[in-house]
């Protein structure tokens, strides 16, 4: 199958206008020994019918789709309302490129402006960009910005930040010779004593996650005061779904807020595409990477939207740009705008409350099973760690028989936590599903 409209007759006419005898001649500038002699060794083409069937077969081999999911750890199984897919299915949005021609790109531009506003409302920050690749790369780029601006070469990252976010921060920081040091955790939250010991006037920034990777709420005021005292940039990685209920990070002094926006209308989709959120206070506005949309007027005085502060970006500033980001996750940001419009001022709080209530119910039930306990005392939102009587990987394995994905075994990333299982609950989980998980865990005790 191909998607070529030209007929052989069209091609003949075109070759005549060009003044060559064959398409081959148009490739004569490629040295002949660099031209492929045979076919590429890939499977022969398929008709649409065959392809559709093949894709369906592959999709059906992903048995996980039929399991009840309690895994979170950075990707969450929230309900996605129908309006999201219907709006995203409009090809005016999804077949457009970056809105470089504003007169015919007002849909993309205005929806990004609406997105920026919503992210500012949720985080309390002054400015949000149009999106980053994901929460992890947004965190990593915020570290390089902070280090570049302060001309300091140490970055402190709490060990309660998502392990993959920490890994991406290390990848980016390494290229700039920024030394990344981890702050220990204690009782499931950042050890503020350890933080105080590591802070100094050579520390560019401190990164924490709220709620943290273990689901626990960090003592953000205490951490913030220490970070500010050392003159470092305070970077907070959030689960933005919690911000309908939890206080905006600007209130506790965050300088840069990043987060994984998958929770707003984007499917888990085996890890992507997701949505990197980045919002900053005024001081960092001109260092913020990525696209930014501003409101302006046209030559008749009519309101319109354009890309603005583009001189920060690579297509103008080249090697002196704050970042190399070009393509972003615009369609995922659109999903977030539609989702947040659907949920609205009241819904976003209620969804958060349901998550909290259901997680509390499940934690309470599990804590009553012999041999299981809630790992730490710290308050949590919709995710918490459970200490199991056996290896948590075994627990997960056993519950697969009941079509339950019981959680994320923390031993996979955190040595010493082999018996700990990280369990996430969303508004989608029913009491019946949670009771089935409890029954399954009981069976292993």
């Amino acid at each position: 199958m191909n998607f070529l409209p030209n007929t052989d007759k069209d091609r003949e006419e075109m070759l005549k206008v060009i003044g060559v005898g064959s398409v081959e001649e148009l490739f004569s500038d490629i040295p002949s020994d660099l031209r492929l002699k045979g076919d590429l060794n890939i499977p022969p083409g398929l008709s649409e019918l065959e392809l559709a069937k093949h894709m369906q077969e592959l999709a059906s081999k992903n048995a996980a789709q039929d399991y009840v999911n309690f895994i979170g750890a950075g990707s969450y199984d929230h309900y996605i309302p129908s309006v999201v897919r219907h709006v995203l299915g409009r090809s005016e949005f999804y077949t457009a490129y970056t809105p470089y021609q504003p007169e015919i790109s007002q849909a993309v531009l205005q929806s990004i402006y609406e997105y920026q506003t919503m992210i500012c409302e949720l985080t309390g920050m002054d400015a949000a960009n149009a999106s980053m690749y994901d929460g992890a790369s947004a965190a990593a780029e915020s570290v390089t910005i902070a280090a570049g601006m302060a001309r300091r070469k140490r970055a402190l990252v709490s060990s309660t930040v998502h392990p993959e976010t920490r890994a991406v921060i290390r990848t980016y920081a390494d290229a700039h010779d920024i030394r990344v040091e981890e702050i220990d955790y204690k009782d499931g939250i950042t050890d503020t004593g350890c933080l105080a010991g590591k802070l100094g006037d050579d520390v560019a920034c401190v990164v924490i996650q709220q709620p943290n990777f273990f689901g626990a709420l960090e003592p953000v005021d205490e951490i913030s005061a220490k970070v500010k005292g050392a003159g470092a940039t305070f970077i907070v990685s959030v689960n933005p779904m919690t911000l309908g209920l939890l206080r905006p990070p600007a209130e506790y002094g965050a300088d840069i807020v990043v987060g994984e926006g998958q929770v707003f209308g984007n499917p888990m989709a085996f890890g992507g595409p997701y949505l990197g959120i980045m919002a900053v206070n005024k001081k960092f506005l001109r260092r913020m990477p990525g696209r930014l949309v501003g409101m302006t007027t046209d030559n008749q005085g009519k309101r319109g939207f354009v890309l603005t502060l583009q001189t920060r970006e690579q297509h103008i500033r080249r090697e002196r740009a704050t970042s190399n980001i070009c393509s972003n996750q615009a369609l995922n940001a659109l999903a977030a705008v539609v989702y947040l419009s659907w949920a609205g001022k009241e819904g976003i709080r209620q969804i958060g409350e349901q998550c909290v209530q259901k997680a509390a119910y499940l934690a309470d039930r599990i804590s009553r099973i012999d041999g299981y306990s809630i790992a730490w005392q710290a308050p949590f939102f919709n995710e918490f760690a459970v200490k199991c009587p056996v290896d948590a990987g075994q627990v997960v394995e056993s519950l697969l028989e009941k079509n339950i994905l019981a959680g994320y075994p923390l031993g996979r990333c955190c040595p010493g936590l082999e018996q700990y299982l990280l369990i996430a609950v969303t508004e989608k989980r029913t009491r019946q599903e949670m009771d089935a998980l409890v029954a399954g865990l009981e069976g292993l005790a």
Binding site: A59, S75, R170, L331, L400
Partner: protein, 487 residues
């Protein structure tokens, strides 16, 4: 005439709602008992309050203010805005691909892993390379991965003095930005009068402090570098590596392979070359491919096949690490995989050949009306300039682009590459018919004539869009980047 759409906040009304939630089926507790009072938000976030019909009409009406490939011609140079087959969208919407958490046990995601494994091998074959990582989320992200691989390779050999990356002056802005983000100093290499790399200048710049050369081939002028074999020898003989920017790979699919040209590492843009839509700016996908000697440095994880089972492998001690969380933009991979499977080897080659044919056809049709700075057969795109028109009428590239909007066509890339004054970069792609190409060529010719007959009509364009030319300077001087509720 379409009218502007109010902001979603401006149609909000207290008490309206679109959401619904099930009744709480667990015993309700006071939230203040579950969360510390200090952590609870005092003021609700200022999100809009709308009904579902308000929401649907808002975004539907808004969508009608946008141009897309499904609406009309989109010859935006270096962006490969080809048609995106619908069956691929349907495939990416299958529940079996959407409802899987990235941390499920490998045995429950065998279909996803198989798709990734096979996509890795197809891309390796198409590139003429040995190993592929699908993790980078976009072209620039793939560039950064590639640059970090080059850095890690030299460091692993304890060759610490290579601090520079060479980049031609015709390169995309992402190239120097990626090299800088990767910790290198950028050295620009000039182009020669044929539009290729100035080989003598390259030879002079190439020494033991250079880590590698980043090259787009065909380059941003749409020209294949005829000296590629000499360039390869110059760089390799001094111990440097060759990076291939795959942004323009649509020109050579199935005809020539970067790996055979001597490149060591490359990225592809699945959202350009392999037909996945661009989403108004993203998501894309920028897999990176390497020769086997660079395999130890690839990002983790990759997908491997063992005993008939696919699994994620993290076993790579010298890896550059992770570029992002999880495994890449998976649903974009699904579409690219479907695209490659539907076309097959013949289809890919034919698509590429028609892309080149279409570009050369438009070039010939308009050559008498515009300046052609490098008058050779082009590949998938070419660059023209209204230099003479500008001198004689004052009409500039920007004006011509804006006038094209009145023809219902997306303008070409403007003012890029930087080495051509007033550049217009045109890439028609293979999915456009001769009729569309003729319509576009006729429009460009009509505008060239209009520039002489009625220059004001061109300079004040567009005349038919929902908004006219927007005040970009005003937007930057008086920043308004979020809506505030009027007092």
């Amino acid at each position: 005439m379409r009218s502007p759409e109010p902001l979603i906040f401006e149609i909000s009304k207290p008490g309206r709602r679109a959401y619904s939630l099930p009744e709480l089926d667990v015993p309700a507790r006071d939230v203040a008992e579950l969360l510390p009072e200090s952590e609870i938000r005092r003021e609700p976030a200022g999100l809009p309050e709308v009904s579902e019909i308000d929401l649907v009409r808002h975004f539907t009406r808004l969508s009608q203010l946008n141009h897309g490939v499904d609406i009309g011609f989109y010859p935006l140079g270096s962006c490969t805005m080809k048609y995106n087959p619908k069956v691929n969208e349907d495939a990416a919407n299958l529940p079996g691909f959407n409802n899987i958490h990235p941390y499920v046990p490998d045995e429950l995601a065998q279909g996803a892993l198989q798709l990734m494994y096979e996509l890795q091998s197809y891309l390796a074959e198409i590139a003429g390379m040995d190993y592929v990582s699908l993790q980078p989320a976009a072209g620039a992200h793939g560039e950064l991965a590639g640059i970090l691989i080059i850095r890690a390779y030299h460091r692993a050999r304890n060759d610490m003095k290579r601090t520079k990356i060479l980049i031609p002056d015709s390169a995309h802005g992402t190239n120097p930005a990626s090299a800088a983000l990767g910790g290198f100093t950028v050295v620009e290499v000039p182009s020669d009068e044929r539009g290729g790399v100035d080989v003598e200048a390259l030879e002079a710049a190439m020494d033991e402090t250079v880590a590698g050369l980043m090259l787009t081939n065909p380059n941003t002028l749409g020209l294949f570098d005829e000296n590629i074999q000499r360039i390869e020898k110059i760089v390799h003989s001094k111990g440097g590596l060759l990076y291939y920017d795959g942004a323009n790979a649509n020109a050579i699919l199935g005809t020539s392979r970067p790996g055979d040209m001597g490149f060591d590492v490359l990225h592809f843009n699945l959202h350009k070359t392999f037909g996945t839509p661009h989403g108004g700016g993203g998501p894309g996908s920028g897999p990176v491919a390497v020769k086997s000697f660079l395999e130890p440095f690839l990002p983790v994880p990759t997908v491997v096949l063992e005993d008939g089972k696919y699994r994620l492998s993290y076993d790579r001690p010298q890896t550059i690490g992770r570029m992002k969380s999880f495994y890449g933009n998976f649903l974009v991979m699904v579409k690219a995989y479907a695209y490659i499977r539907s076309l097959g080897p013949d289809g890919l080659r034919e698509a590429s050949r028609d892309a080149v044919l279409n570009a050369n056809y438009i070039l010939r049709r308009i050559a008498g009306y515009y300046d052609v700075p490098y008058d050779r057969h082009c590949k998938h795109e070419f660059v023209i300039s209204p230099g003479k028109i500008k001198k004689e009428t004052g009409v500039r590239t920007l004006d011509i682009s804006k006038r094209l909007l009145d023809y219902g066509v997306h303008p070409p890339t403007n003012y890029f590459p930087l080495i051509v004054d007033e550049a217009l970069m045109i890439e028609p792609t293979e999915t456009e018919s001769k009729e569309t190409l003729d319509y576009f060529a006729d429009a460009l010719i009509a505008i060239a004539k209009e520039a002489y007959e009625d220059p004001e009509a061109v300079k004040s364009a567009p005349h038919t869009t929902v908004v006219g030319r927007l005040d970009e300077a005003g937007a930057a001087r008086n920043l308004n980047i979020r809506w505030e509720k009027p007092e």
